[in-house]
């Protein structure tokens, strides 16, 4: 450690002989490999564990499985088909390989990585100040949760507290974001099953929330609004009326959607008893969020490990019973209601004060101070060019995103950039539920199951 507190390379440690390719060391000829996807492909003959995993019977292995790939198989009846990555109902670029026997799905394998953009590597080249611009692009339906998670991790390493108003704004924005994300989940779930009206209604209501986001943050998506030390700007004038209007609208329209879907025989027929997962399977596979709650586990990080003062507001954690597509839809609808409750309470009791910490080493000075004060100008310049230094340390912070436990594992070496930033993406783990949900169901239910899991491929692949 130097006196600045940074970790310097130890000169006694060797510069290693590189056994892997690094740019600049290559020969002039670049080897072009043929694309070999053999390792990813579902094989007709698999090892036992891979077979059971694709069958979704790893957790329930002891209960016996009458389906056996060696036994009594007529090869003509078996077919392995690719679904995606370019398929409208896979919510992006998810590729599934399905083993079919007639119309029945026997095995499922999810193949991902088509949207991988190396964001964790990118984060190592960005300062802590620029970090939220990167993470906000991961889960593009819940960008504010990503920013919140990253900012909380940085603040824990800095050991600072943000002012009460900043915390309240954060809760207000993330809960609105949860509503908009769940509305999209409900809309796309309906669209995939063929209920096109709910698709248009869901996106219409989300639009209202995005307009509020645009008014507050300047952008509809990828806001870079929640930053280490607070939020980027105060709420816009007239925000309270906007928020109240959104809450009233959502509440009244949710009743309409319930009338439309809840007792609708087509909707219930397509969703009840489809894509069932049990609580034990969720625990074994690290599946969180509405999927876990639909299986009857009242687990919500907002209650278990509260963050940003969310414990001050009253809300309930809705749970399902059967863990099927219908229960996941109901859990999301109830969560929208609960989020509206939280948003109303926050708007009611919004504290006065500063919306970011008053520390010029972490947050930029107010605009008007830059014209008056040399010191403010220097602070502004330093923050936007080299960022701020964060003491060495490591931490893991998790928040409840609309899809489950969104975690950020952050390591600082004392410099202005993270040594390592890892995101625990909820969709990435939730995707492992697909084989369990889809075994022995018909192929027509595949789209309903995927949509009910609500994966965001930007979150999966990062």
């Amino acid at each position: 450690m130097t006196d600045k507190g940074t970790i310097e390379p130890d000169p006694s440690l060797p510069v290693e002989e590189l056994d892997l390719w690094v740019s600049g060391t290559e020969d002039s000829e670049w080897d072009i490999y043929p694309t070999d996807e053999g390792a990813q492909t579902m094989q007709t003959e698999e090892t036992e564990f891979r077979f059971r995993e694709q069958r979704g019977t790893v957790v329930t292995a002891d209960e016996g499985d009458e389906y056996d790939f060696d036994d009594g198989f007529v090869d003509d009846e078996r077919m392995i088909v690719n679904m995606g990555p370019q398929h409208p109902s896979t919510h992006g670029v998810l590729r599934l390989q399905l083993e079919l026997e007639g119309e029945i799905i026997r095995r499922t394998k999810a193949i991902i990585g088509y949207l991988h953009t190396g964001m964790e590597k990118t984060a190592e080249g960005l300062t802590f100040m620029q970090g939220p611009t990167n993470v906000t692009r991961m889960d593009y339906l819940a960008p504010l949760h990503n920013e919140l998670c990253f900012s909380l991790a940085v603040e824990r390493l800095l050991d600072i507290e943000v002012p009460p108003r900043a915390e309240a704004i954060r809760i207000l924005m993330t809960e609105l974001n949860r509503i908009s994300s769940h509305l999209v989940a409900m809309a796309t779930n309906g669209m995939d099953i063929g209920a096109l009206s709910i698709m248009t209604y869901g996106f219409r209501d989300r639009e209202q929330i995005l307009e509020f986001f645009e008014k507050t943050t300047g952008l509809r998506l990828n806001h870079n609004y929640i930053r280490p030390g607070g939020v980027a700007a105060d709420l816009a004038a007239g925000w309270r009326a906007d928020v109240n209007e959104i809450c009233d609208n959502i509440t009244s329209r949710l009743h309409d959607y319930d009338d439309m879907l809840q007792e609708n025989p087509i909707w219930t027929g397509r969703t009840r008893g489809i894509g069932v997962i049990s609580a034990d399977e969720c625990r074994a596979y690290g599946i969180t969020g509405p999927t876990l709650r639909s299986a009857g586990v009242a687990w919500d990080l907002r209650k278990a490990f509260p963050y940003s003062g969310i414990e001050k507001y009253e809300f309930d954690v809705p749970v399902g019973e059967r863990g099927d597509v219908y229960d996941r839809y109901r859990v999301r609808v109830e969560e929208i209601t609960q989020s509206v409750r939280i948003v109303r309470q926050v708007a009611e009791a919004m504290p006065k004060g500063d919306y970011r910490v008053d520390d010029r080493k972490i947050t930029p000075p107010p605009r008007h101070r830059i014209d008056e004060s040399m010191e403010a100008l220097i602070h502004h310049f330093k923050i936007f060019t080299e960022g701020f230094r964060v003491p060495p340390g490591e931490t893991y912070v998790a928040v409840e995103s609309p899809r489950g436990e969104l975690g950020c594992y952050l390591i600082s070496d004392g410099s202005g950039k993270p040594w390592r930033m890892h995101t625990r993406a909820p969709s990435f783990y939730n995707l492992q539920a697909l084989p369990m949900m889809m075994a022995d169901t018909v192929i027509a239910d595949t789209v309903a199951t995927i949509a009910s899991l609500d994966p965001v491929m930007g979150d999966v692949d990062r």
């Binding site: 970790i7 310097e8 390379p9 130890d10 440690l13 290693e16 590189l18 892997l20 390719w21 690094v22 740019s23 600049g24 670049w30 072009i32 490999y33 043929p34 694309t35 070999d36 390792a39 990813q40 564990f49 891979r50 995993e53 790893v58 991902i112 990585g113 991988h116 964790e120 590597k121 990118t122 080249g125 390493l157 050991d159 625990r283 074994a284 596979y285 690290g286 599946i287 586990v297 687990w299 278990a304 490990f305 340390g393 490591e394 931490t395 893991y396 998790a398 436990e405 975690g407 594992y409 390591i411 070496d413 390592r420 890892h422 625990r424 990435f428 783990y429 995707l431 492992q432 692949d461």
Partner: protein
């Protein structure tokens, strides 16, 4: 409610390096002891594997790699982080898939980005990068500079 799962683990594994990092329990475990410790942790109530990742301490620390395992106990509302150090020329660590099947994707991701081999993993293939990718991108000696795009016909275009 059964007793705090951390108490029992701390009593049983007193010789390990337990410390707090910003209020979070962290324990450093030797690779040879990892499976024994993880089994004990699961029995003590850590029912969910929240996350597996790794860190490359290239030229800063020895051993070079840390495998980071985040455990979560839903019944006790507790978290525990396990660090396993690995030398650069021996990046093999036992897989946790037999205990928590959900480790599957996460360990494949760590293998993909760091080249850390999880012994006993049923399906250790690349997950996010293409199958024929060279090198391990999240290692610190893997440059972010100009990487030729690996399209099949890129060499034909001039």
């Amino acid at each position: 409610m059964s007793p705090d799962p951390l108490e029992g683990l701390k009593e049983r594994f007193t010789e390990l390096d337990w410390h707090l990092s910003h209020g979070q329990e962290v324990v450093r475990v030797e690779r040879e002891q990892l499976l024994e410790f993880a089994t004990a942790a699961q029995e003590a109530g850590f029912d969910m594997l929240a996350d597996v990742t790794a860190v490359d301490w290239y030229r800063s620390r020895e051993p070079r790699f840390d495998v980071v395992i985040n455990l979560l106990s839903m019944s006790h509302r507790a978290r525990l982080r396990i660090l396993v150090g690995l030398a650069r020329d021996d990046t093999v660590v036992p897989s946790l898939v037999p205990l928590w099947p959900g480790a599957n994707f996460a360990e494949r991701e760590v293998f993909d980005f760091f080249g850390i081999v999880f012994e006993g993993h049923p399906d250790l293939t690349r997950i996010l990068m293409p199958d024929d990718w060279d090198g391990f991108p999240l290692r610190k000696d893997y440059d972010t500079g100009a990487v030729p795009v690996q399209f099949k016909a890129s060499h034909k275009v001039s």
